[in-house]
């Protein structure tokens, strides 16, 4: 029962936020914080209770819902989903903290925010394709409103673009689910069963896999359907950017893994090399585009595309090590990109009121603590040893290398992506913190010292960075959980190298 709690709690709290009396505006954010913290605690409890020694899903709840159409409320967790739950909890807490000072229509803001969180939790625990899809849709709608109402420049354009891409994604996914319902022969949509005994015909798999993978891939920022991501991330308010990059993009990757790769092995083996090339294109395109930005938030947004390329490359490896790395990269990027968004779009922007790196004038001296956190977060995202990204990327590269269907050149070029990552990270950090401004600041000169970080802001940094360091230094426990969750999936794929 426990894994259901965060979802239901978030929905309940969202409703509560809307019905709160108007004269106590402070209460709503405390409710949001308490809900997010409770969700995180429950997720951590689930994480600890999950036993990697046992195979299959744990804490399964299965209740017939629309029995005529074989739709069940079927939820449960394995090592992968429980890792994603912890990630959702972390980002949710950090997002509430960064939105503490939202004034405009606050109750609605937190209501949408909690609906989004609830939907995301729901996707990660769903074991029935229809239930999965319902939660997936629930997670998509609030994004539109969060951007369109509370966003920054070009928010309506960005929100519309995001919505269109999301609906395209949903359409492809829904089509595939219906096809699978009829194609499975057994008229079931139970993910566990379909994963355990994939009995789709080979031709069916060849046809449906690319549709399903592309459908989820759109949300994961797969090249060339990634263009919603930079504009959406940049226009969104900080908390929404954090959720978008941190967990919503992971929904797509999770769907690729759980549904496409888990249930259509023959299709995956046929198509993975092609999608690996798209993943590579995303890695390189994202990194090169980040190198050309002078808006700090666009740098982070494009870096997300690049990092999600690594996630997809790991998925395409169809290899135990590569898939483990891919899930770990989801977690790693899931904590680090929200951290960077919180810093760049929230903590720094609230002081400078600009994100144009060309006018940043040696902010390392003007905001030493914040600069330190940003530099450390940037280095962590860059894949420096000691942080989670390194472990994840190492697994992905090794996994992809031993997949014979993926050309070695692809892996080597992904390695070039690592150089480019270093290039944009270092050059942008220099522009922000260590260089004189290229152009004069807008009006008044910069203050000698900006306001020091609020304890709430430090809490965000420590919380998210702490998890990255923990995984970077001692990855074994989390790797064990993830790896055990992947057992049923990798069983479909022959081990080619030992």
């Amino acid at each position: 029962m426990l894994p259901i709690v965060p979802t239901l709690l978030s929905f309940a709290a969202a409703v509560l936020c809307l019905f709160l009396p108007r004269h106590s505006p402070g209460l709503v954010r405390w409710i949001a914080l308490a809900t997010a913290a409770a969700g995180l605690s429950v997720s951590l409890a689930c994480w600890c209770m999950y036993d990697p020694g046992q195979s299959g899903f744990q804490q399964v709840v299965a209740v017939p819902w629309v029995p005529d159409m074989a739709i069940w409320w079927r939820t449960g967790i394995d090592g992968v989903s429980v890792t994603m739950m912890v990630l959702t909890g972390l980002v949710a807490v950090a997002g509430v903290l960064i939105s503490w000072d939202v004034e405009h229509r606050r109750s609605e803001f937190f209501a949408w925010y909690l609906v989004l969180i609830g939907g995301v939790y729901g996707v990660f625990i769903s074991l029935d394709m229809v239930l999965f899809f319902i939660f997936y849709e629930i997670a998509i709608i609030p994004k539109y409103f969060l951007i369109a109402i509370w966003g920054g420049e070009r928010r309506t354009y960005a929100a519309m673009k995001l919505a269109l891409f999301s609906f395209a994604s949903s359409t492809l996914v829904l089509f595939s689910i219906l096809a699978m319902y009829y194609g499975s022969g057994s008229a079931t949509l139970d993910i566990t069963q379909l994963t355990r005994a994939s009995n789709f015909s080979q031709g069916f798999q060849y046809a449906i896999f690319p549709v399903l993978f592309t459908g989820f891939g759109i949300l994961a920022g797969m090249w060339p359907f990634h263009t919603w991501a930079p504009t959406g991330h940049v226009a969104a308010p900080p908390a929404a950017s954090m959720l978008l990059a941190g967990v919503v993009m992971k929904l797509g990757a999770y769907g690729c893994l759980r549904m496409a790769i888990g249930t259509l092995p023959a299709g995956a083996q046929a198509w993975a090399p092609m999608f690996a090339i798209l993943a590579l294109a995303g890695i390189l395109h994202g990194a090169l585009a980040a190198l050309a930005q002078r808006d700090f938030k666009y740098v982070i947004a494009y870096s997300s595309v690049s990092h999600m390329g690594f996630v997809l490359l790991g998925l395409c490896s169809l290899d135990r090590t590569g898939l483990t790395g891919s899930v770990l990269q989801m977690f790693s990027h899931g904590v680090l990109s929200p951290l960077l968004f919180a810093l760049v779009a929230g903590i720094i922007y609230s002081r400078t009121h600009t994100r144009d790196l060309a006018v940043f004038d040696r902010f390392g001296e003007r905001m030493p603590v914040i600069a330190t956190f940003t530099v450390v977060a940037g280095l962590a995202a860059m894949g420096l040893p000691g942080f989670s990204g390194f472990v994840a990327e190492l697994h992905i590269l090794i996994g992809a290398w031993r997949q014979p269907a993926i050309a070695n050149v692809v892996v080597v070029l992904a390695g070039v992506g690592i150089i480019l990552t270093a290039a944009y990270t270092i050059t942008r950090l220099h522009m922000a913190f260590f260089q004189k401004s290229v152009e004069p600041p807008p009006e008044v000169p910069w203050p000698q010292r900006f306001a020091p970080p609020h304890p709430r802001e430090i809490a965000i940094c420590v919380l998210l960075l702490g998890f990255s360091v923990w995984i970077g230094l001692y990855p074994s426990p989390m790797l064990r959980q993830i790896e055990s969750g992947l057992n049923s999936i990798v069983a479909h794929y022959p081990t080619r190298w030992r």
């Binding site: 519309m160 585009a289 590269l397 892996v411 690592i418 260590f434 064990r480 081990t495």
Partner: protein, 626 residues
């Protein structure tokens, strides 16, 4: 008790963490902790070499089916010697920095970063496997970035740090590709040759490196592996064409130059290719390439050093040149000679850099040798130790550098006349530019006010100079023993790959040639510079002064192309994809909306008609079709 050697790593790490976390406002305590941590590391290194300490058990880090990585502790003879060099030179640099950095507002941060650097560097030395080495390899890159950019307010320092990091990262990329290829071919990540035979992919019939070499199926991959791994060395050890970061890195504080750009970080690349020597030696083409890169670097850097005016830059180019000797030695099949030269070079180059730091300190941070002159009377201790360092580097007979350089020349003498010729010529150039530096700095008239008022540095600065000078003078022959120790190590570790007997044939001729080269360089330098001219009597050679324009070409070509690609992609993103996917679908939706609007006329009759039509169709469907 067996865990004790781990403090070699733990002490500097703790020092860095404690200082960063709590002591940034108390520089003296921070310095004390950092020096203490380094002393602990040095003591453990001594204990491993001469005492009864043994390597502790490895710590598992990642254990997955198909991938097991551990953090191990390698304490074989090669690692022991390297540990002594790193911690010994490191300790002296720490002590020296206590005085040199006194009064700097970032002194505590400096010591924290110094400790972090020691931690990373020692991690490389004791690594037992590729991933462990790569982890610390990257951390060395990070800590050198922090140290080079220590005075980040200065644009040149911040830029130099950035350059060093990115150029190193290019090398790291190759290293990573090499590591993954190695793992793919042998199924293991350990350096220990025993595991290469045991862990190989038996299904493919690979049981040793020799099998790999013999199997034409892997011809491409072993080349990828070898060149990739060597690329890692090229980045860290600053080989042409990845050399550009090292001279710029002189923007860091001088003790940093002494530590990381003379004795430790740049030596890591050479250490690495010696550690994995057989992996490279199975590819003859690669060995030729390594020797060629070494040769190009040693000659190229020496030529540039001839016309530099900044005291630290001359030393930086001389470091490049000496690293070229080491790498060439590996390429010529003499890793023992490379390690021997690495060891002696670490001591006398640290001595020279610290001496230069003492000069700069006395000159109030003036680095141009043409503003110095006549300093020998003002700072006698620095002067005499500098004499020793210069003599050792240039190959003055029976000092440390003489023996190690002679070993490398011997390796070239047997069958590589071209390499030998250029290496001997470079020995003469080395002697020339070092004595040029030496004469101009210390002899002649004082060319500036600062030079007239120079005074000797405090004891914490000259003491390390004296301590470093001693081995270079009196223990010259002692170093020969070290050379033999390295020979023994490589013979035992990689018997199949090291030529059976180190030949001494021709030793007399080689020794004579190297003495002649030394004297020729010294004589020419004396003729030009002994009297201490006011400006350089040598005709200026713009290509040499401008380092053959390589930095210029890089800055413009590489960055320009890269920025062009980046902008192009940005445009694609913004216009093409945005227009086709988004505007396209938006247009589709709006056209659909226009069509639908035709039905919304606001006319009651139309609505009623459509409603009845719909109802009629529905009834028809229900009644007649189901």
């Amino acid at each position: 008790m067996n865990a004790l050697p781990w403090f070699l790593l733990v002490a500097p790490l703790l020092s860095a963490v404690v200082i960063f976390a709590t002591l940034l406002r108390s520089p003296k305590v921070a310095a004390g902790i950092s020096i203490g941590a380094c002393a602990i590391s040095f003591a453990i290194a001594l204990g491993l070499k001469f005492g009864s300490l043994v390597a502790p058990v490895a710590i598992p880090w990642i254990t997955l089916p198909g991938l097991a990585i551990e953090i191990g502790f390698n304490a074989d003879a090669l690692a022991q010697m390297m540990l002594l060099v790193v911690t010994g030179v490191g300790l002296l640099v720490h002590i020296y920095s206590f005085a040199y950095m006194d009064g700097d507002k970032g002194q505590a941060r400096f010591f924290a970063e110094l400790s972090l650097f020691m931690f990373s560097m020692l991690g490389i030395v004791i690594a037992t496997n590729f991933i462990q080495m790569f982890i610390f390899w990257e951390l060395v890159g990070l800590s050198s970035y922090l140290l080079i950019g220590f005075w980040f307010e200065k644009k040149s320092a911040a830029d130099a740090a950035k350059k060093a990091f990115l150029v190193n990262r290019i090398g790291d990329f190759g290293f990573l590709v090499g590591i993954i290829t190695f793992w793919g071919l042998t199924g293991t990540l350990f350096f220990d040759p025993a595991t290469w035979t045991a862990g190989g992919d038996s299904a493919k019939g690979i049981t040793s490196l020799v099998d790999l070499q013999a199997n034409p199926k892997f011809a491409t991959l072993i080349h990828v592996m070898g060149f990739g791994l060597f690329m890692g060395c090229m980045g860290k050890s600053a080989m042409v064409p990845l050399h550009v970061w090292l001279p710029d890195a002189m923007e860091g504080p001088t003790p940093v130059s002494a530590l990381i750009h003379a004795a430790t970080m740049v030596a890591a690349g050479v250490y690495m290719i010696c550690r994995i020597y057989p992996v490279l030696a199975i590819t003859p083409l690669l060995m030729t390439f390594i020797a060629a890169i070494g040769l190009i670097t040693l000659l190229f850097a020496a030529v540039i050093a001839l016309q530099q005016d900044d005291i630290k830059r001359i030393l930086a180019y001389s470091t490049l040149s000496q690293l070229g000797y080491m790498v060439m030695a590996v390429g010529l099949g003499a890793p023992a000679a490379a390690m021997f030269h690495l060891t002696t070079h670490a001591f006398f180059k640290a001595l020279l850099f610290l001496g230069a730091g003492s000069v700069i300190h006395a000159m109030h941070h003036e680095q141009d040798i043409w503003k110095m002159g006549g300093l020998w009377k003002k700072i006698p201790l620095t002067f005499w130790t500098f004499v020793v360092g210069t003599a050792a580097l240039t190959g003055f007979p029976f000092l440390a550098g003489f023996f190690s350089k002679e070993e490398i020349l011997m390796a070239a003498w047997h069958g590589h006349p071209f390499h030998f010729g250029l290496a001997a010529l470079t020995a003469a150039l080395t002697s020339f530019y070092m004595f040029r530096l030496f004469f101009v700095t210390f002899f002649g008239e004082c060319r500036s006010e600062d030079a007239k008022h120079a005074h000797e540095s405090p004891a914490a600065m000259w003491l390390p100079l004296v301590i470093l000078a001693i081995p270079s003078v009196i223990a010259g022959f002692g170093f020969v023993g070290i050379g033999h120790a390295f020979h023994d190590f490589f013979h035992h570790a990689f018997p199949a790959f090291i030529h059976a007997e180190h030949s001494h044939e021709g030793a007399g001729i080689v020794m004579s040639i190297s003495i002649v080269a030394f004297l020729a360089g010294l004589g020419a330098a004396a003729a030009y510079y002994l009297k201490g001219p006011a400006k350089d009597p040598m005709p200026a050679m713009p290509p040499v002064q401008n380092k053959f324009y390589i930095d210029y070409i890089y800055d413009n070509a590489v960055l320009g192309v890269q920025a062009g690609i980046a902008r192009m992609l940005n445009t694609i993103d913004y216009w093409l994809l945005g227009t086709i996917f988004v505007r396209g679908s938006a247009t589709f939706v709006s056209i659909g909306g226009e069509l639908l609007r035709l039905f919304q006329t606001g006319n009651m009759q139309t609505y009623a008609f459509l409603f009845s039509l719909g109802a009629a169709l529905l009834f028809y469907y229900i009644l007649f079709l189901i």
